[in-house]
């Protein structure tokens, strides 16, 4: 098997072994398979002897696609780069999440292994539950150790933390300040005629005041926001409205952070906790329902949301478009979250209870007391947010799908039905000969 060709850069890696951040050499072909790897990574490590390893993290946070031409596998973090090389969208496959491929000296094929834990693929009912306080302490420990490891690997980095003023992001803001000395919170708001300052912004300001942190305010018009649609579609690798809308928020945050000109920057977000707690709800605007969820029992819904992370690139991809590396710290705590029983995360105050056991008094009480607000919705008082901005401009689900198809040179949007279904990309292992390790 010939050496794969890499098209464009792969996304920044923050893969963790429970103690430190992996360095490239630790993941070279022939080294032990990292079954306990957590965090985000896509990695290609080659050597001048012709050995190589391709690896993708088990949650599928970092993306990796491939196409094959004349016996050579072409790998890229984005399908549009493969399209630019002449591949059709129908010819492109995703490397499965958790896939490890080793090509060793003297062997014709590549060896395949999976670091995807089998227990992540089943609903919670078959996993042993544990007391909430115990799980909260575990999550806190994982988050602290992961952030410490990142700080050790990047001691001079300026940390920008996306802050919606909600519990998940506020907890990350508070923890990041314990490990980094140069921390800036970042808050999004949409300026619409007649709208007041959003509740998100007010909460972010109050939190930063409490923690004595600088806050980078990013307030944009709907027109400015929508200028980033194409970037969000190709870098986010998705046309579904809930991911595109969140990606638009991230795009304007990324633009503002990139303008801050820090020499080394790392972005932190509070993403993923909602998936791990199945804490999403439908939204409505002008009588229509949006962001509909599968009608499933909570444990099944959570399993679907976790699996669906494989097709969500609204953080890594969108910030990456501005050259900004992103860390989603909750990723490393997934094993603890999966021990939460659905009888718990179905409670109205599950998020508050769990966050109290994770963050305690690190997070001020006014954050715990605040009702949940979805960042791309805005708030009940100020009117619609990104969702409304898109719909008001005629940018609905069909528009997004057609635009995504056009940007990827699909002849017909229906071709996308074979590219992604049910939150999964069409995936395959890029090798003709496989030996399972």
């Amino acid at each position: 098997m010939s050496t794969p060709r890499i098209i464009g850069e792969l996304d920044a890696s923050f893969a963790w072994n429970g103690t430190s951040i992996y360095r490239a050499g630790e993941l070279a072909a022939g080294t032990p398979i990292p079954f306990n790897l957590r965090g985000a990574i896509t990695s290609y490590v080659g050597s001048n002897t012709g050995e190589w390893r391709v690896l993708r993290d088990p949650l599928g946070l970092n993306k990796l696609f491939w196409g094959e031409s004349c016996g050579t596998v072409h790998l890229s973090a984005r399908p549009h780069r493969l399209v630019a090389e002449g591949f059709g969208i129908d010819d492109i496959r995703s490397v499965p999440r958790g896939c490890v491929l080793d090509h060793r000296l003297g062997e014709s094929g590549a060896r395949k292994a999976s670091i995807l834990p089998p227990q992540w693929q089943v609903a919670v009912s078959s996993i042993d539950a544990a007391p909430i306080v115990e799980i909260g302490a575990e999550i806190r420990s994982s988050l602290e150790r992961y952030l410490a490891a990142i700080a050790a690997a990047h001691p001079t980095a300026r940390a920008f933390v996306c802050c919606s003023g909600g519990l998940d992001s506020s907890g990350i803001v508070a923890l990041v300040t314990r490990h980094f000395t140069d921390v800036v919170a970042v808050s999004f708001d949409l300026s619409r005629p007649g709208a007041t300052v959003s509740q998100d912004r007010r909460m972010a300001e109050r939190l930063c005041n409490d923690l004595s942190l600088p806050l980078l305010d990013v307030t944009v018009s709907p027109e400015h926001l929508l200028e980033h649609l194409d970037t969000v579609l190709v870098e986010g690798i998705d046309w579904r409205d809930f991911n595109v809308h969140a990606g638009l928020v991230n795009a304007v945050l990324a633009e503002a952070i990139a303008d801050a000109h820090a020499s080394q920057t790392i972005i932190f977000t509070g993403d993923l906790a909602n998936e791990f707690l199945a804490d999403y709800h439908e939204e409505s605007y002008l009588g229509e329902s949006y962001y509909q969820l599968p009608r499933l029992p909570l444990d099944e819904l959570r399993a679907a949301l976790v699996q669906g992370l494989d097709t969500s690139n609204r953080e890594v991809g969108v910030f990456g478009a501005w050259g900004l590396p992103v860390v989603q710290p909750y990723a490393v705590a997934i094993d603890s979250y999966l021990r939460l029983p659905s009888s718990f995360f179905g409670l109205r105050d599950a998020k508050q209870q769990l966050c109290r056991s994770i963050f305690g008094e690190l997070v001020p009480s006014f954050i715990y007391d605040r009702p949940k607000v979805r960042a791309q919705i805005g708030d009940a008082d100020a009117g619609g947010g990104v969702l409304a901005a898109c719909i008001d401009h005629g940018i609905n689900q069909d528009w997004l799908r057609e635009r995504f198809a056009r940007l990827h040179r699909a002849r017909d949007p229906r071709e996308l039905n074979r590219f992604m279904r049910a939150g999964r990309y069409r995936s395959a292992v890029p090798t003709a000969e496989e030996v399972t390790l």
Binding site: P294, R295, E300, N417, M420, R421, A422, G423, Y425, A428
Partner: protein, 85 residues
């Protein structure tokens, strides 16, 4: 369980879950459920859960994204194959 029995159960689930009229002339076991909009991405997640619970079959990604999995007959074939019915 035979192919026809599986197809029958799949059809009944899809008709009920997605409110497809018994008089819909366009709906058959050969029609592309996704291209014609009978089942969307969210609905497919529900359908996969139904298949898993009813036939104890986990649909592999290769099959899920295949042309075969786009209609009821094809889905029944895949379930038969994976479930060794």
């Amino acid at each position: 369980m035979t192919h026809d029995e599986i197809a029958e159960r799949l059809e009944a689930f899809i008709r009920t879950r997605y409110s497809i009229s018994a008089n819909d002339p366009g709906f058959t076991r050969d029609v592309d459920l996704f291209d014609l909009g009978y089942v969307d991405s969210i609905g497919l997640v529900e359908l996969l859960t139904f298949i898993n619970a009813s036939f104890e079959v986990e649909i592999k990604d290769d099959d899920l994204l295949s042309d075969e999995f786009s209609n009821i007959h094809g889905m029944a074939k895949i379930v038969c194959r994976q479930g060794e019915w």
